[in-house]
């Protein structure tokens, strides 16, 4: 296509003073990876391709089904049974031959994610399950990529921008600052189970595309440290603010090796994590094969001299998993908060061990000793 028609394609947005030719050049140079080519992914892909985002990756291992068509508006009836990533790529390429579209017909996992994400500037989470959402979030944090989050359920949707560069070069909040621990399996229903009104992912996906364009061009204020929600029934919009938390890093893999060793498919079933009170803890101490881990920072008072234990601060737990033996593990800390996080990490790492967190922490345990 010649230069003039190229200019004409984007004319209505380049005449926007804040975007201009410079903004268009940024869009054409940008590389955006979209995880999921379903209800959210379709509008994201369509608007990014139309806007001239120069390189678009599409990750999806599914084929088009008839029950997708009420909301996945890139596909037509004759696409049923064909791979979504391939169909989407073909259609986007027809719509805008100036851009490059890379289909990845695979399921994103902790073995392939870092390699795929590495080649892109911005990642869009348009997936439909929690394991992928936590995996993509952690990968983006490791690779320092901004993540545009979108999710829907029945009549409501959420949008946010995670892990962008904020003030002073610090990374903004990520998904785990919002929901540190994945919900238990079955707690939150998927679209397939709970249903979704077709236009809703269209609205939320369009918002995700808008956030991507804002991030690339620098126009306006992206939804960082904020979560926007929309209710189809009431037409209410609600924007909540939230902040990065110091303790979040401890729930995430700290390096690529830890990432590869994290079992994401399991994180939704934290079934073998339980909180125990001081009395139950005391009776457990008498059992064989029990390992107590103090996850407080070194030097925190009071010291736990009363019982034999390992000391591994929560912030270093991921790196010391290989030193932990025993069939039953009890994580303890000052108040029972950090140990709960530690228990989640341990449960991820050890599927066959029983994992407990001491409720009320060492304070509660020492108090129970006094009252004995």
């Amino acid at each position: 296509m010649d230069k003039q028609s190229k200019g004409e394609r984007y004319h209505r947005q380049t005449i926007l003073e804040e975007l201009g030719e410079q903004g268009q050049q940024k869009l054409l140079s940008a590389k955006v990876l979209v995880i999921g080519a379903g209800g959210l992914g379709c509008p994201v892909l369509q608007y990014l391709a139309a806007a001239g985002v120069g390189t678009i990756g599409i990750v999806d291992q599914d084929v088009v089904a008839l029950s997708n068509l009420h909301r996945q508006v890139l596909y037509i009836t004759s696409d049923i049974g064909l791979l979504k990533a391939e169909r989407a790529a073909t259609k986007l390429q027809q719509m805008n031959p100036d851009i490059r579209v890379n289909p990845y017909e695979l399921r994103l996992d902790n073995k392939n994610a870092l390699d795929i994400l590495k080649a892109y500037d911005i990642v869009v989470d348009a997936s439909d399950n929690f394991p992928t959402r936590y995996l993509v979030n952690d990968a983006c944090c490791l690779l320092q990529k901004p993540l545009v989050h979108g999710a829907v359920s029945q009549f409501e949707g959420q949008v946010a921008v995670f892990n962008a560069v904020g003030e002073g070069g610090k990374r903004t909040a990520n998904y785990r600052d919002l929901f540190p621990v994945p919900p238990k399996e079955g707690e939150v229903a998927s679209c397939a189970e709970a249903g979704v009104i077709g236009v809703l992912p269209g609205i939320i996906g369009s918002l995700q595309a808008a956030e991507v364009i804002k991030l690339i061009t620098g126009i306006g204020q992206p939804l960082v440290n904020r979560l926007q929600t929309f209710n189809f029934k009431t037409s209410d919009w609600l924007t909540l603010s939230f902040q990065p938390l110091l303790e979040t890093a401890a729930t995430q893999p700290a390096n690529p090796l830890a990432f590869i060793n994290t079992v994401y498919d399991w994180t939704c079933t934290s079934g073998n994590v339980a909180e125990i009170n001081a009395a139950t803890f005391q009776s457990l101490l008498a059992e064989e094969g029990i390992t107590v881990i103090d996850v407080r920072e070194i030097g925190e008072q009071p010291l736990l001299n009363e019982i034999e234990h390992l000391q591994i601060p929560l912030s270093q737990l991921m790196d010391h998993l290989d030193t932990i033996t025993g069939s039953t593990i009890v994580a303890v800390c000052q108040t029972g908060k950090r140990s709960r996080q530690a228990a989640t990490i341990l449960a991820n790492a050890f599927h066959s061990k029983k994992i407990y967190s001491l409720q009320g922490g060492i304070a509660a345990y020492l108090l129970s000793l006094q009252n004995k």
């Binding site: 209800g39 829907v152 929901f179 919900p183 992912p201 603010s241």
Partner: protein, 77 residues
């Protein structure tokens, strides 16, 4: 003191209503005790609490007329 509590997503399915007005709860901790007693299925539900559109992590006192939002994660796409 009266506060407005709004339930989002599947939390509204648990409580059977999108929101309710409550009296006599003065902070997020007493609110949780009250709603967990009234709707036990909330005990095991994952959600965050926002007071006047700010997501809070510690026990947070309410002022009269505060709007409290209970927000679960969504997985669908």
């Amino acid at each position: 003191m009266t506060i407005q509590v709004n339930f989002y997503g599947q939390l509204a399915d648990i409580t059977g209503k999108p929101g309710l007005e409550l009296e006599g709860v003065h902070d997020t901790q007493t609110l949780q005790q009250k709603i967990h007693a009234d709707f036990p299925a909330l005990i095991t539900a994952t959600y965050r609490i926002a007071v006047d559109k700010k997501i809070v992590t510690e026990n947070t006192p309410f002022h009269d007329g505060a709007t409290v939002s209970l927000l679960p994660p969504f997985s669908g796409g």
